[in-house]
């Protein structure tokens, strides 16, 4: 674990970023109060290497590239000399806006942009000041550029002055570059993690080892909500006397042995009797009926404006629909995996986690050790999508290590992974909407029955806060209780709500015989940013010539995680199979584009996941448990089904938005709307089945 002392020992120029009550502050290493540690360390070594200790998890979104790039920009430093280290977990690394150390909500770059620039600019000025003293040349005659201090025809590396610069005071108001001077921001740099991910050298959670470690798999109940009642290990013990079997507080049964394959063989001999559960015996239809029945319950009113019922009754155009959207599995390509070693006075956890804080909490609870004795090492994440912010798997490994007194590496098989749950919640939605004869929507009543995340905030995400100017609005939610575990899933609430709202808009337009893009423009007239996003999507997709009744082109717009996104999908039906040819995506991310290719790749990825959700994905049930327990049956999008994707990035003067999630929600409704206009097909449940 990196401590303040280590950093001071490293030599060179070291700065830290720390959250104070008044916001972020830049501090010199020795100014960091002893009992505290900063949120981020930055070190420029004597041999001219910039190392940034990043407090975020790299799960493919490029955060190991985006954050250091901003520092390197202001420092004016060569990218190939920048290194990244994951910061250790602990209080100092808590994300100030979230209060915990968590990577999620598409917030990483937007929260830290300004302070990172300030850090780079300060280092640059400190280097100039110290170089000026050492060389006896006035500061104004020196140039700091590309990792070198240039004095006339001579040049010196920054590293040569790093120790001296460390003695300089922090500049009060370092000069920030003007956008014209940017070398990286707005242009981008190669991703720092790509070479090792191409060479098979990147270390994920599953790739960690400790000498003498045991392996562990976890047997789970065949249906949700059950606990082990009786565990018969007699057959296991006969064949594998060394294998340990015990129950975990998660409700799983741990099987630990000297190799992964030993565990897999041993678990075949395990006999477990499970308790009853409310959903035992349930099939897909039972879930559907249950959620539909919940829609009849009295809901909590989240938002009400005007008189939606009256407007509905008096309007010439009315639409009423009920939607069903299934549980979705994250399908991270790396299943849950963790190596934990709980020693007498120390605890080490290697985890591909999105939440170091919750890992730390689990470790404290299970080990009884103070935070200072716990070391959490964040590995690369083989996919996160929200799932790896849940730390139940980490707790399982910790419990096993505590019991066995050895390092234990837990690996979920694919079947274990999907059976462990924590799905994107199932939902049933009822919508009544009305419009005048021009198709202008004048009322919308929205009611959703769903298991509540974030105290129900996620249930109505993207509806309660939408920018459409609808004069009469009612938003209600019914909180559903079921023993199927649920969790965040790339843009979670917006996934199901964008689908229902965006398809309703097109149903109204279809009934009124109006252009749904024009209709959206009218509804967004009070929000110039949203308006421009839709307008730009029309322009870039050639909307006026491509769209029309009988042409399978569809649009959807959605605002989530601070960014506006509008997609136009070109679709056709081939032998009753939906084929998506092209998606034109427009995203407005706020004041500036930090790294265009990171944004593009995030939007491409979000579209792939959104299409997968639209066309293929559904956790299906048999006897109250998951029926499709591996990729042969829980199918996700393949290369053949991937459309051409065109990403256009817009900026606007406002707060910076996220990019990891906002590209997903408009995908499925854009495809469904294309089917409506092209073929008159109405999709009320996902995945699309024709």
């Amino acid at each position: 674990m990196i401590t303040r002392r280590d950093l001071i020992k490293m030599g060179g120029l070291t700065l830290s970023i720390m959250l104070m009550p008044a916001g972020y502050r830049l501090l010199k290493a020795e100014e960091v109060p002893k009992r505290y540690a900063p949120n981020l360390w930055i070190n420029l070594s004597k041999d001219n290497v910039l190392t940034v200790f990043v407090n975020k998890s790299e799960m493919g979104q490029g955060v190991y590239t985006g954050l250091p790039m901003i520092i390197a920009e202001e420092l004016d430093f060569p990218w190939e000399r920048v290194k990244v280290q994951p910061a250790p977990a602990g209080k100092p690394y808590v994300d100030p806006k979230m209060g915990i150390q968590l990577t999620g909500g598409s917030t990483s770059v937007s929260n830290m942009y300004e302070i990172l620039r300030l850090a780079g600019a300060s280092m640059r000025e400190m280097l100039l000041a110290s170089a000026s003293k050492k060389l006896g040349i006035p500061k104004e005659k020196l140039i700091a550029k590309g990792g070198y201090i240039i004095a006339g025809d001579k040049r010196y590396t920054y590293g040569e002055f790093s120790e001296l610069a460390n003695k300089e005071p922090l500049p009060e108001k370092p000069r920030l570059k003007s956008p014209q001077e940017f070398i990286y921001i707005g242009k981008g740099v190669p991703r720092i993690d790509v070479p090792e991910k191409t060479n098979g050298k990147a270390i994920f959670g599953i790739d960690t080892f400790e000498e003498g470690m045991l392996y562990m798999v976890v047997e789970r109940p065949p249906y949700f909500g059950a606990k082990p009642l009786k565990v018969d290990t007699s057959e296991v013990k006969r064949e594998f006397p060394q294998v340990e079997v015990f129950t975990l507080s998660s409700g799983g049964v741990a099987v630990c042995g000297d190799s992964f394959w030993t565990c897999q063989k041993a678990r075949q001999k395990l006999r477990v009797e499970w308790s009853e559960s409310f959903v035992k015996g349930w099939k897909d239809k039972d879930f559907e009926n249950f959620f539909l029945s919940k829609l009849k319950d009295k809901g909590q009113v989240v938002k009400v404006k005007g008189t939606p019922q009256k407007a509905y009754e008096e309007s010439p155009i009315k639409v009423e629909e009920t939607y069903i959207q299934p549980y979705l599995y994250h399908a991270t390509m790396e299943p849950m995996s963790c190596l934990a070693w709980l020693k007498k006075d120390e605890c080490i956890v290697y985890a591909p986690t999105q939440s170091q804080t919750w890992v730390l909490e689990s470790a404290k609870r299970i080990s009884g050790l103070p935070e200072s004795r716990i070391k959490v090492i964040t590995t690369y994440l083989g996919g996160g999508f929200g799932r790896k912010a849940n730390v139940e798997f980490v707790a399982e490994a910790l419990e096993a290590s505590k019991k066995l007194g050895k390092p234990v590496k837990l690996i979920y098989t694919r079947e274990d992974d999907i059976k462990s749950g924590y799905f994107r919640p199932y939902s049933a939605t009822h919508i009544k909407a009305s419009a005048d004869k021009e198709g202008n929507i004048n009322s919308l009543s929205f009611k959703i029955a769903v298991q509540p995340l974030l105290n129900g905030r996620a249930s109505v995400e993207g509806v309660e806060n939408m920018f459409y100017a609808i004069p009469n609005l009612l938003v209600e939610r019914v909180d559903v209780e079921l023993p199927v575990s649920f969790w965040f899933w790339r843009s979670v609430g917006s996934t199901h709500n964008a689908f229902s709202i965006e398809t309703i808009i097109d149903r109204i337009a279809y009934k009124a015989g109006k252009d749904p893009a024009e209709l959206r423009l009218k509804l967004l007239k009070d929000n110039p940013v949203a308006y421009r996003v839709v307008e730009y999507a029309m322009e870039k997709s050639g909307w006026s010539k491509n769209f029309g009744k009988g042409k399978a082109v569809g649009m959807a717009y959605h605002y989530s995680f601070g960014s506006h996104a509008c997609h136009v999908a070109q679709v056709s039906l081939e032998k009753n199979k939906v084929r998506v040819h092209k998606i034109v995506a427009v995203i407005d991310v706020g004041p500036l584009v930090v790294h265009p290719d990171l944004i593009r790749s995030q939007v491409e990825g979000a579209i792939a996941m959104g299409l997968s959700m639209a066309l293929k994905e559904q956790v299906s049930f048999k006897d109250g448990g998951v029926e499709n327990t591996n990729f042969h049956a829980y199918q996700i999008l393949t290369a053949e089904e991937m459309p051409q994707v065109e990403v256009h990035i817009l900026t606007s003067k406002r707060e910076m938005g996220g990019v990891g999630e906002p590209g997903l929600p408009p995908t499925a409704p854009a495809v469904a709307n294309a089917l409506l206009w092209g073929y008159g097909i109405r999709i009320n449940s996902l995945p699309i089945r024709l």
Binding site: V194, T332, M333, Q644
Partner: protein, 149 residues
């Protein structure tokens, strides 16, 4: 005890007879570039080459590959056109499936050094990538093979 030839080196390793090659490579020999994804040959993350042919190492019992030439991601030189194209096209996001993708592409180019875009897409559709890097994968393979992207 099995004698395995991996990336031109000989390893002696003890394992169960029915133990999939994947787990021997990854966990016993610690060549962790080869990844576990599904354990049933569907996702392609564990792809290696056995005597020049792409194979899903999660389905291959270790006892069946004695004496055969096994190639993993670690055995492909860093300056290989595929790896270079992968970096130039900035293909990986989370990166977990990429070793398998590259191994499949490598096997494809051995069989067919100039595949068409259609052939590339068809072949690579047997590999899953949850981050959605498919279009970049196709582009990188075509680039590495000198084909039209």
């Amino acid at each position: 005890m099995y004698e395995l030839k991996i990336n031109g080196r000989t390893y002696r390793v003890s394992a169960y007879e029915d133990e999939p090659l994947l787990w021997v490579i990854r966990e016993r020999l610690r060549l962790t570039g080869t990844k576990f994804g599904c354990g049933m040959g569907v996702c392609g993350s564990c792809t290696v080459l056995i005597d020049g042919k792409a194979a899903r190492s999660c389905l291959v019992p270790v006892s069946s590959v004695a004496g055969k030439e096994i190639l993993t991601i670690e055995g492909i030189p860093e300056n290989h056109p595929l790896k270079k194209a992968w970096i130039e096209e900035q293909v990986p996001q989370c990166g977990y499936c990429q070793s398998g993708q590259i191994m499949e592409a490598y096997a494809l180019l051995l069989e067919n050094p100039r595949p068409t875009k259609k052939q590339v897409i068809e072949r690579m559709s047997s590999h899953l990538c949850r981050c959605g890097t498919y279009n970049r994968i196709v582009k990188a393979i075509l680039k590495a093979s000198g084909g039209k992207t």
